[in-house]
């Protein structure tokens, strides 16, 4: 059993191709059912976001599975294989696991450390569960990846700090006012930047947004675009300043429209309640000296950009620690994954021993029947314990084996020494097995999926 990942991401494919390969459009579950029905993989999970389309699968043979998956992607989206092949990456086994762990940690994201991806990974796994496409290998892999995401979030600062102007402004507002619900925002100017920042504040829960512009019609139109916002004429600017907690200035004026003296007089009327002024206009709308006023917090777009840059730098410095966590978890997953190679042999060995025990007990049946029932139970118990103890060390040793070559040597030796019949049933009898019902052995689909045509590499 191998793990394979076939996919494209923002690192390898342009946005128009990513859009065309978006599985969300037609439904991930539909894709998964088609994929499993197609026989391209035994287990599969499709992770599809605006920045990536990846298929994680469990298969018997990596090369064949790769060709089958590439073919499936092309067929499913109705695109020529040649158009996607240059952008596709394929990773196998622990490399695929490492990739997924890095994705879940936010290390592979466009904005490093962004928090949405972990939820998207969880959704992808849940969809595979609903489509009955996930099996023991991918379940284990994805659960491990959730753990990686969580560890990276709590143990490193990879996701800390706002990395866009809007988020930085909202984060600052929260650090000044606490909860933003019940706060009111005044936007001075009816331009696009002011509108976007106000919309962001609104999504953070502010109570009221008011737009003031020199042209009342512009203010009204912007208010309508934001939704549930009020427009006020320019003459009411002072009253609006008195009522607001957060002021966003974004006019195209050539000289400052809010001077220090102006804001000072407003602050007197509001008894020095804190005022957070965000000046995103160029040239400046607010006289920089206004920032000296007690309880006025003045930030212009450069200040916000500086905090964004600092946060980005801080995230970058956390990448190393996150990578260590990923490596740690890959090693842990790897130990489990590799031990799966010996499981059929372990199961066969145990079945063999149990069979001997039972046949011996049956052979002695006529002697044992003379014993009282408790004594017979004891005999059964003792023989079982002897078998258990004899097999304990060999089982542990086999499960702890590392590289595939050693595993082959050992399984071969055990099979010969004990005269084991080659087991075909992968996980039967394994206590921790949460295997899905046995699936058809993997076949490379014939016809258009022929290796020569897809060009194996």
């Amino acid at each position: 059993m191998h793990l394979i990942l076939v996919g494209i991401s923002h690192r390898t494919a342009p946005v128009d191709l990513r859009e065309r390969l978006d599985f969300q459009a037609q439904g991930v579950e539909l894709a998964l059912r088609a994929l499993i029905g197609h026989g391209a993989a035994r287990e599969a999970v499709v992770l599809s976001t605006c920045n990536r389309a990846e298929i994680y699968a469990a298969c018997e043979e990596v090369g064949a599975a790769r060709d089958a998956l590439v073919h499936f992607i092309a067929q499913f989206h109705g695109i020529d294989q040649a158009a996607i092949l240059p952008h596709v990456y394929t990773l196998a086994d622990l490399d695929a696991a490492r990739h997924l762990f890095r994705v879940a940690a936010g290390l592979d994201s466009l904005v490093v450390g962004e928090p949405q991806i972990l939820g998207q990974v969880k959704d992808a796994h849940a969809a595979a569960g609903r489509a009955q496409a996930a099996g023991p290998v991918l379940n284990r892999l994805f659960h491990s990846s959730f753990g990686v995401g969580k560890r990276v979030r709590t143990e490193t600062g990879l996701g800390a700090g706002a990395v866009s102007i809007g988020f930085a402004a909202a984060a600052l507002a929260k650090k000044i006012f606490g909860d933003l619900t019940g706060r009111s925002v005044l936007v001075v100017g009816a331009g696009e930047m002011g509108k976007l920042t106000a919309q962001h504040m609104k999504s953070q829960g502010v109570h009221r947004v008011t737009i003031v512009s020199r042209t009342m019609a512009h203010a009204a139109r912007t208010a309508e675009a934001i939704g549930a916002a009020a427009a006020a004429p320019w003459e009411e600017l002072d009253a609006a300043l008195g009522a607001a907690d957060i002021v966003i200035t974004a006019t195209g004026a050539a000289t400052p429209i809010l001077t220090k003296g102006h804001i000072e007089s407003v602050m007197r009327s509001r008894r020095n309640r804190p005022l957070f002024v965000i000046d995103i206009a160029l040239p400046r709308d607010v006289e920089p000296a206004a920032g000296e006023i007690e309880q006025v917090f003045l930030y212009n777009i450069d200040d916000l950009q500086a905090t964004v840059n600092e946060n980005l730098a801080r995230r970058a410095s956390e990448v190393q620690r996150a990578e260590l966590i990923v490596a740690d978890e890959v090693a842990r997953f790897g130990a489990w994954f590799r031990s799966r190679g010996v499981i059929p042999t372990v199961v066969a060995l145990r079945q063999h021993a149990e069979q001997i025990r039972r046949s011996e007990l049956e052979r002695l049946q006529f002697k044992l029947s003379a014993l009282p029932p408790e004594a017979r139970a004891r005999v059964d118990e003792i023989t079982r314990l002897i078998v258990e103890k004899l097999l304990l060390t060999p089982t542990e040793q086999l499960k702890s084996l590392g590289d595939p070559d050693t595993i082959n040597v050992y399984t071969e030796a055990v099979t010969r020494l004990f005269g084991l019949a080659q087991s075909t049933n992968d996980d039967a009898g394994e206590p921790a097995a949460d295997d899905s019902p046995k699936v058809e052995p993997f076949r490379t689909p014939s016809g258009p999926l022929d290796r020569r045509k897809t060009g194996r590499r």
């Binding site: 650090k175 020095n272 905090t307």
Partner: protein, 272 residues
């Protein structure tokens, strides 16, 4: 006796600082656990002393300080559990450790004096303990407010920005603790004034020395003036936020002055 809780508080202080600088959840849990053990040990010490002398140990300056620290520890634990905010611990614990260290290195035992029996005296002292504990909290909250305020104002979003709750939360907490403390301070002073004439009958020289010229009483009234301004007037004239925070620190500096040098060395009236 106070040495055991002091050791716990000191260990908790180290853990709170570790938690504050490294932000490891495990360090935070360890800090809270140590503080809880310290408070339990302290409760035991105070309980033993109460059994021994028949009332809460509040008469002697050292036992008063010890009881104050105990109350501060409980008040802080309460705020931590209700807000889930551990950052303030790094600021409160130094105060606890310093005050309790004084009580440990200059121990005193409460005597059972007939003049000090009776409900009025107990109300007087207990109100003042609650008041001073509140002012201690307010002072620490005020200091953290100023630290965060300076970072935001200077656009240097760093250490405190990442760790402290919002300015608004700190300001509200400051205001509430000041109002609570002021109410108890007022009550304590009024009860003291009512009690003094009654107590003069016992002829104790320390009670005879109760007058406005006694440094302890004078400074207490200065305190009351400062806190009255902060609790009742400051915000109405726009002295919220940073100015209120400075006032809290100033007020508590006066409280500490009254507590340590004046209580131990200068007063002729309040040295029971």
């Amino acid at each position: 006796m106070n040495a055991v809780p002091l050791v716990f508080y000191a260990a908790a202080l180290a853990a709170y600082w570790w938690h504050f600088s490294r932000r490891q959840p495990a360090a935070g849990r360890a800090a809270t656990t140590l503080l809880v053990f310290g408070a339990l040990a302290h409760t035991f010490v105070i309980g033993m002393q109460t059994m021994e002398i028949g009332h809460v140990p509040i008469v002697n300056a050292s036992s008063f300080v010890s009881t104050l620290v105990w109350l501060l520890a409980l008040a802080y634990l309460y705020t931590e559990m209700t807000t889930g905010e551990r950052a303030m611990g790094a600021f409160i614990l130094p105060l606890l450790v310093a005050l309790l260290a004084i009580a440990v290195f200059k121990p005193g035992v409460d005597e059972s004096l007939p003049v000090l029996q009776g409900p009025l005296f107990s109300v007087h002292v207990l109100s003042l303990i609650v008041a001073y504990a509140s002012f201690g909290l307010a002072c620490m909250i005020g200091i953290t407010y100023v630290l965060l305020f300076k970072e935001i104002k200077a656009k240097q979003l760093g250490f405190f920005y990442a760790r402290l709750p919002s300015l608004q939360v700190l300001d509200t907490m400051n205001q509430q603790t000041i109002i609570l403390g002021w109410a108890f301070l007022t009550l304590g002073i009024i009860v003291g004034f009512i009690w003094t004439p009654q107590a003069r009958a016992y002829g104790d020289p320390r009670v005879q020395a109760m007058s406005l010229e006694d440094p302890k009483i004078f400074v207490a009234l200065v305190c009351w003036a400062v806190y009255s301004f902060e609790a009742l007037l400051a915000r109405r004239i726009g002295w919220g936020g940073r100015r209120a925070a400075y006032l809290s620190a100033l007020g508590f500096a006066i409280v500490l002055l009254n507590f340590v040098p004046i209580s131990y060395f200068l007063t002729r009236s309040h040295n029971f």
